[in-house]
């Protein structure tokens, strides 16, 4: 008995000692780890001070007083080029106000995981937003003056007399960012060293763009159909030739950028890919989960579902990168956006309409969205919503009927009550932000059921069989005015819109059925032209080109964008003229006349263009929004007193 007791006491004691030793061990490991981390931190800080100190101490060229977050002093060859009257490009407006301070971490959010960062092969909205931070583009839209094209990587663009040859001069002081690979392993030593951005990187980008194996580039490739040749004349001169003169060619220059051949033409061990499969390897490249560019911010890391981290590139010559780090959290649940704004974990976020309603419109007065803790603003998007009428259906071939439909659509009420006033009505085929291309002298079509009834009567739709629904004899057959409105089913707003419209139409003797549908099924139905009417939106660009959506040739090709079957010879003429016209004022005149013509024809009932509500912490200063995507571009912003 005593022996058993002794045994168990001994066992217990041994166990206790073991536990104590383990705990001590864990504690000690933890301490050493902590010390290691501190050490690494300190080394990082020393590196940073060195980086900042070096130019100040030495080389005069790099130490220009306007360096840092305002960019470097403009080299004289660029200043000179801007004086050249043949140069299409002008100097862009400054990003940051003079009082701006550098430093700090800017916390933003994304609502989804980007699908990879090969900018040629991917064109999702989130991917191109990252690209705007990471890449430099060949040219860009001027920040304040829509009539002008601004310099970016190219500081000079000369267009030949026949408008078929574009010659670009590229900056000579731009470097590729350090690739986001783990150099510690030694596997990537072949990527080490500074690399300048040259015209060859532009040529490589165009090579990949035009390579059919790069399936992801197919949508943008269609703009390059009349591309004749492109070549690097020297390291900093790029020449692009077209077989015909078209303004869309200049438009698409906003969408090209250098791509580093020194990474993308090689496999992960540094061996060059065989030419025959280069396109396919590029499309599925090993570097695709990471981004590389030569823009204001360097890509550091991407953890799917968690975060994207960017850091300021001190060598970037154009400035407008005040934040040391941009931390983009991936928040797929949109409710988290407002929550993290409240806790201060996000510096800035837009609110989806649902949250705008619950946080702002219906929020308590002491809510941070209302008591001044958070600042609010808004930006306009390049998109417009519409109801498209399939003109190949018996009801909607007649212009009068389409006008009647527009009169019966209570757009004001819907916009105010259902869409919470987050937008403005449009009257034609572009958003109001496209003014002056957009002709704002045209009045929005008022809600007027009497007028609608009158128009229907006028075009022969009367209730001859007295069943409460208008009808008409078409090709010897009695057709009832009963049709389906296909709406995007994942949004409650559209279902509400459908129901309100349905009731109003019933008052004028038209029967409409609302058909909510999931996105990919909706697109298929629209492509197959199996719809009577559909609510959709178009996303457009700052420059206008109406060919794909409105030209009559696009009405008859499979999956074409002219789904409503708009065929109008006069419109075709204007569209083609606009494609050839390079003069801004003339383009405005043509676009205005096109706007008026479409207004007259009413192939769509134009609904509204959207604005988005944005809220941000007070600490974030100089918050302005762009007129082009990404609208919430952080380059003009800075964090007050982040420098200390």
């Amino acid at each position: 008995m005593t022996q058993g007791l002794l045994k168990s006491i001994f066992g217990l004691a041994l166990l206790a000692i073991l536990i104590v030793v383990t705990v001590l061990n864990i504690w000690q490991t933890d301490r050493t780890e902590k010390k290691q981390i501190e050490l690494i931190d300190r080394v990082g800080q020393i590196e940073k001070t060195l980086e900042k100190g070096l130019p100040a101490a030495g080389s005069a060229a790099a130490a220009s007083p306007s360096g840092g977050i305002f960019g470097v002093a403009e080299p004289s060859y660029i200043t000179e080029a801007f004086r050249d009257p043949n140069n299409v490009l002008v100097r862009d407006a400054a990003w940051l106000p003079p009082v701006a301070e550098g430093g700090g971490t800017l916390n933003l959010k994304f609502g989804s995981d980007p699908k990879g960062f090969n900018f040629v092969a991917e064109n999702g909205a989130d991917v191109s937003e990252i690209q705007k931070y990471v890449s430099m583009f060949l040219i860009k839209y001027h920040r304040t003056d829509p009539a002008k094209k601004a310099a970016d990587l190219a500081y000079s663009l000369v267009i030949s007399e026949d408008k078929k040859t574009f010659t670009f001069k590229l900056r000579e002081d731009v470097y590729w960012h350090e690739p986001a690979v783990d150099f510690g392993t030694g596997d990537y030593d072949w990527l080490k060293g500074d690399q300048k951005v040259t015209a060859n990187d532009m040529v490589f980008m165009l090579d990949m763009l035009m390579n059919p194996q790069v399936a992801g580039a197919a949508p943008i490739r269609s703009y390059f159909e009349s591309l004749e040749s492109y070549k690097a004349i020297d390291d900093y001169t790029l020449e692009i030739k077209w077989s015909e003169a078209k303004y869309t060619h200049l438009m698409i220059m906003h969408s090209i950028y250098p791509v580093p051949e020194f990474i993308y033409a090689f496999d992960e061990q540094g061996n060059r890919y065989d030419e025959s499969v280069l396109g396919q390897r590029f499309q599925d490249h090993w570097y695709n989960p990471r981004a590389i560019g030569c823009g204001p911010y360097r890509f550091v890391t991407f953890e799917p579902g968690v975060k994207i981290e960017l850091e300021r590139d001190p060598r970037f010559p154009l400035g407008g990168n005040a934040h040391d780090t941009i931390m983009i959290r991936i928040l797929k649940d949109q409710n988290a956006w407002a929550r993290l704004l409240r806790t201060g974990e996000l510096h800035l976020s837009q609110l989806q309409p649902g949250q705008y309603r619950s946080e702002v419109l219906e929020g308590a007065p002491e809510s941070p969205f209302k008591d001044g803790t958070l600042q609010g603003g808004e930006f306009w998007t390049h998109s417009y919503f519409y109801i498209g009428w399939n003109s190949d259906k018996p009801w909607f071939g007649d212009k009068q009927v389409r006008w009647a439909m527009s009169h019966a659509f209570n757009a004001e009420l819907l916009l105010e009550d259902v869409f919470m006033g987050l937008g403005e009505r449009v009257t034609g085929p572009m958003p109001t932000i496209n003014a002056p291309y957009y002709d704002d002298s045209l009045p929005a079509i008022p809600f007027d059921l009497d007028k609608a009834a009158q128009l229907l009567e006028g075009s022969g739709w009367v209730d001859s069989n007295e069943n409460g629904i208008r009808d008409k004899t078409v090709d010897g057959q009695l057709v009832e005015f009963e049709f389906d409105l296909t709406v995007y089913g994942s949004s409650d707003e559209y279902k509400t819109l459908g129901n309100i419209y349905k009731e109003d139409l019933a008052k004028v003797g038209v029967k409409m059925n609302v058909r909510p549908m999931e996105w990919s099924n909706l697109l298929k139905r629209v492509d197959d032209r199996e719809f009577d009417a559909v609510t959709l939106a178009w996303v457009s660009s700052p420059d206008v080109d109406f060919y794909q959506i409105w030209h009559s040739t696009q009405a008859d090709i499979p999956k074409g964008s002219n789904r409503v079957g708009f065929r109008n010879p006069k419109a075709d003429e204007i569209i083609e003229a606009l494609q050839r016209e390079f003069d801004y004022d003339e383009r405005v005149r043509l676009a205005n006349s096109f706007h008026r013509l479409v207004y007259e024809e009413q192939p769509y009932t134009f609904f509204y263009t959207r604005k988005r509500k944005v809220y941000w912490q007070r600490q974030l200063e100089s918050v302005t929004f762009g007129k082009v995507r990404p609208y919430m571009n952080p380059r003009p912003w800075f964090l007050a007193s982040a420098g200390q």
Partner: protein, 482 residues
């Protein structure tokens, strides 16, 4: 026992095959196209695109993911010229004669038929009476007659393969140029026709299939057998959205999901067994009744509701700021020691785990209670009591061991529910796990990703079932499998 385990594992193979077969068929028959443009889907907005211009890229995309192949059986070797011609006619027919839907379908057919359509297309180019059909056939030939490169979709090329690729590329380059428009001059057309005829005489033997070849095509040149061929090499394919291997992606998400589901399972068992025993012992007293009511209330609360409720009550920026609002860990994990990281993760996943486990807890503790009650009434328990053993020894040592057998069976059925349930919880708490991944992949029609997640979770479930069966023997010595 060993024999039993081997038998069970062998049985898993056909079960797994059947599962993959059914999932594959359902997935491939679902409406919607993986190649469809999904830009801006959340907004109901889209960018305008020129259609019909990018056929070659579209074809390569379909080829890469075997989407051009029939799903189960391939009879395309017997394709008639008439079928091909009918589809060509539909493509160029005017809108009044053929609906847009049939047009698009015809166009897809011609792309999908790829090299099986070559003999028919060559015949049409040479002999068809309709000029515009001939022109279209030549255009389709220029696409379909291009040969696939060696290792086009990945892998290192040997010197020999490089040479072959060079040849194939040259031939493809030539073939691509043998087209003409509807309005081209007659001699241009004659020239192209001659080239195609000569090319087909030279390479026609590529389409002389023996019976054996045909049988191979019939069974093996299909989506399903290609998929299984890859699967047998443990190759789950790449995701068509970001072109990364899906297995890597799933494994990287597995760590989140496993943390959630395993901790939940352990938590559920740790709490529900004592709870069940306690309420069995206190059967029909007030505390037992209160507990029963509370647990049933919990059981009937949907987890998405509880998730949002907890988020709005217990996280930062709310009345009781005890927990972080979102994510699996903090963002600055590189600054943390291992211990701190562990604590940080636990702090982050506490609420999600609560949401995942409370319902299971309610169910299991009820089963544990009934299980024990059944046993407590049996004779040997009375004997144990009569022996004068203390009550806790009777319950824990004699009754609980038998009473808990039923709830072990539930382990197997618990696993799939946890994986399914975590979809919602992962979305609400912003945890990038498998549930969220499969949910997104279904929307994108990313077949490879969906297949991989479903297959991996069915393997996990099969293993879970085996383990729960084996644990019978562990708990109850009377049960053997021999």
């Amino acid at each position: 026992m060993g024999l039993y385990i081997i038998k069970r594992i062998l049985l898993m193979v056909p079960t797994f095959f059947a599962i993959s077969f059914i999932v594959f068929i359902i997935l491939n028959l679902a409406p919607g196209n993986p190649g469809a443009e999904i830009l801006g889907a959340g907004d109901g907005g889209q960018s305008a695109q020129l259609a019909g211009q990018q056929q070659e890229s579209y074809r390569l995309f379909k080829e890469q993911f075997n989407l051009d192949k029939p799903i189960l059986l391939n009879t395309r070797f017997a394709m008639s010229t008439r079928t091909v011609r009918k589809n060509l006619t539909q493509i160029i027919a005017s809108g009044d004669e053929v609906s847009a839907k049939d047009k698009i379908a015809a166009q897809e057919n011609i792309v999908d038929w790829g090299h099986y359509s070559i003999p028919a297309l060559v015949e049409i180019v040479g002999t068809d009476p309709d000029r515009s059909i001939r022109a279209l056939a030549a255009q389709s030939l220029a696409l379909n007659a291009q040969r696939r490169l060696m290792k086009q979709y990945g892998g290192k090329l040997t010197a020999e393969e490089r040479d072959q690729n060079r040849q194939i590329s040259e031939e493809n380059e030539l073939v691509r140029s043998w087209v003409y428009g509807k309005d081209s001059a007659a001699d241009v057309e004659a020239d192209v026709q001659r080239k195609w005829a000569a090319w087909f005489t030279e390479h026609g033997d590529r389409w002389d299939w023996s019976v054996g070849d045909k049988a191979a095509i019939f069974f093996f040149d299909t989506r399903f057998s290609k998929y299984w061929g890859n699967l047998a090499r443990l190759d789950f394919g790449i995701s068509h959205t970001d072109k990364r291997p899906v297995l890597d992606k799933v494994l990287s998400k597995l760590k989140y999901s496993i943390t959630l589901s395993f901790t939940s399972v352990i938590l559920i068992y740790l709490l529900s067994v004592p709870l069940g025993i306690w309420s069995a012992v206190k059967q029909n007293t007030l505390p037992d009744r209160v507990l029963t009511v509370v647990l049933f209330m919990l059981y009937s609360l949907p987890s998405f509701f509880v998730g949002v409720f907890l988020l709005n009550l217990l996280t930062r920026g709310t009345p009781y700021q005890a927990f972080p609002t979102t994510g699996f860990s903090s963002l600055n994990t590189s600054q943390m020691t291992g211990l701190e990281y562990l604590g940080d993760v636990m702090w982050h996943v506490f609420l999600p785990i609560v949401c995942l486990s409370y319902a299971g807890l309610a169910v299991l503790s009820r089963y544990a209670r009934t299980g024990l009650l059944d046993v407590i009434r049996s004779d040997y328990i009375r004997t144990a009591r009569a022996k004068g053993l203390p009550e806790w020894v009777v319950i824990i040592k004699h009754a609980a061991r038998n009473g808990m057998i039923p709830i072990l069976t539930l382990l197997a059925s618990l696993l799939p529910t946890l994986i399914g349930g975590s979809v919602v919880i992962e979305v609400i708490f912003g945890i990038p796990g498998m549930g969220l991944y499969v949910f997104e992949s279904i929307g994108l029609r990313d077949y490879n990703a969906v297949m991989a997640v479903l297959l991996i979770s069915s393997v996990l479930t099969l293993i879970g079932m085996l383990l729960s069966d084996l644990s019978y023997a562990l708990v109850d010595p009377r049960i053997t499998f021999d």
